[in-house]
């Protein structure tokens, strides 16, 4: 049995576990850690995107059943993000490893700051909608979601601000292998006025598409090591599953802050090595 896939599986499990508890993508932690351990950024990128795709798939059935994913918003945002991911993946062989390492360090630092930052509630519940089902309104970027016993309506705005952010997230994902959720979710919630819960679920849906686009380009480029990716996929699914069960017994704020600090440390290590 080859040791590398097992090591990757163990690291992916830990990253997905911390990621799901801390509210960040596991690849944002995993890829910089792999690079800090000596892996080449171009080799670590497919491993990262495999964990992104696995995390997205594992969460998809629950989020679809809850009605928190806004598919129309996700597909619209993904027009930019998929184009960015394809561009980033195509460019990744032509740019220097040092630049990719800097992108990874920046991604880890932004993820760390995002994990440490606070979030407020922007969209208030509306009592007259108590009997309405959660979901999206056909033909629009609006919808409503269930927050406890209350139904909260929302309408995505400022698409012209969200699409450039999604494009940037896609380029970062294709270039470096981190998901880019740390850019997409804040872009949807802060720039497009979408509630955080919907933004997070919709981002998870879109990340699967972004990762698939990047992985297909990597596969054609011959950059996929199947057993290493199998380890990453198995680890991501196991870590996400464990995280979902541990969420009830751990204080999410403390875990989120610890993950944020860890990401900042990883960012410094990757930046120093670059």
């Amino acid at each position: 049995m080859n040791a590398a896939p097992l090591l990757i599986a163990a690291l992916a499990t830990a990253a997905a576990l911390l990621g799901s508890l801390g509210g960040i993508g596991g690849a944002t932690l995993l890829v910089p850690v792999l690079v800090a351990m000596g892996a080449e950024p171009t080799a670590a990128a497919p491993i990262g995107l495999a964990t992104v795709a696995a995390g997205s798939l594992a969460a998809s059935s629950r989020q679809l059943a809850e009605g928190t994913v806004h598919h129309r918003l996700g597909v619209t945002v993904e027009l930019a993000a998929a184009a960015g991911a394809v561009t980033g993946a195509l460019l990744s062989l032509d740019v220097s490893e040092r630049l990719i390492a800097w992108v990874l360090a920046a991604a880890a630092a932004i993820g760390g700051v995002a994990a440490l930052a606070r979030r407020g509630v922007r969209n208030p519940p509306l009592g007259i909608l108590h009997a309405e089902p959660a979901g999206e309104w056909p033909g629009t970027l609006g919808g409503q979601y269930r927050n406890g016993e209350e139904i909260v309506p929302y309408q995505a705005t400022h698409l012209e601000r969200g699409l450039p952010a999604a494009l940037l997230a896609g380029v970062v994902a294709g270039l470096s292998g981190v998901g880019g959720g740390f850019l997409k979710t804040p872009a949807m919630s802060e720039l497009m006025n979408v509630p955080v819960k919907v933004a997070a679920a919709t981002t998870t849906f879109t990340l699967g598409i972004t990762a698939a686009a990047g992985l297909l380009v990597y596969a054609v480029q011959g950059r996929i090591e199947p057993l290493e990716l199998a380890g990453a996929i198995a680890g991501a699914v196991m870590g996400g599953w464990l995280g979902a069960r541990l969420q009830q017994s751990l204080a999410p704020t403390a875990v989120r802050r610890a993950t944020g600090v860890l990401l900042l440390i990883v960012a410094v290590v990757v930046a120093v090595r670059a």
């Binding site: 049995m1 696995a54 129309r72 297909l216 596969a219 996929i224 990716l229 199998a230």
Partner: protein, 101 residues
């Protein structure tokens, strides 16, 4: 009892309940298949493990793209052409990436 109420509980009922039952089941089954194939690949190693790893990767890549295709068809059938075109656009971008690579 008002329209939309549940006869058993007397409370409000989601009129769209169950509309995603089939895709939810399909996504659960795909997740299980991907995880099982990836785990088996890890323990089988080179040869059969490689083939199972490619199966896991293939399913992982196909799942979100099939979902987008399903959305494109669903929205097109319901007259939501703008978003159906957006979904087709995403698939075209991914295909273009593969061709350019």
């Amino acid at each position: 009892m008002t329209p939309g109420s549940s006869p058993e509980e007397g409370g409000p009922r989601d009129p769209k309940a169950g509309r995603f039952d089939r895709p939810v089941t399909a996504l659960r089954a795909t997740t299980g298949a991907v995880a099982a194939a990836a785990l088996a690949a890890l323990f089988l190693g080179d040869g059969p493990g490689d083939r199972l790893a490619w199966l896991a990767i293939g399913l992982l890549v196909a799942a979100p793209l099939v979902r987008v295709g399903w959305l494109a068809i669903r929205w097109s059938r319901r007259g939501d052409r703008r978003f159906s075109l957006a979904a087709c656009g995403v698939l075209v971008i991914v295909a273009a990436g593969v061709l350019l690579a």
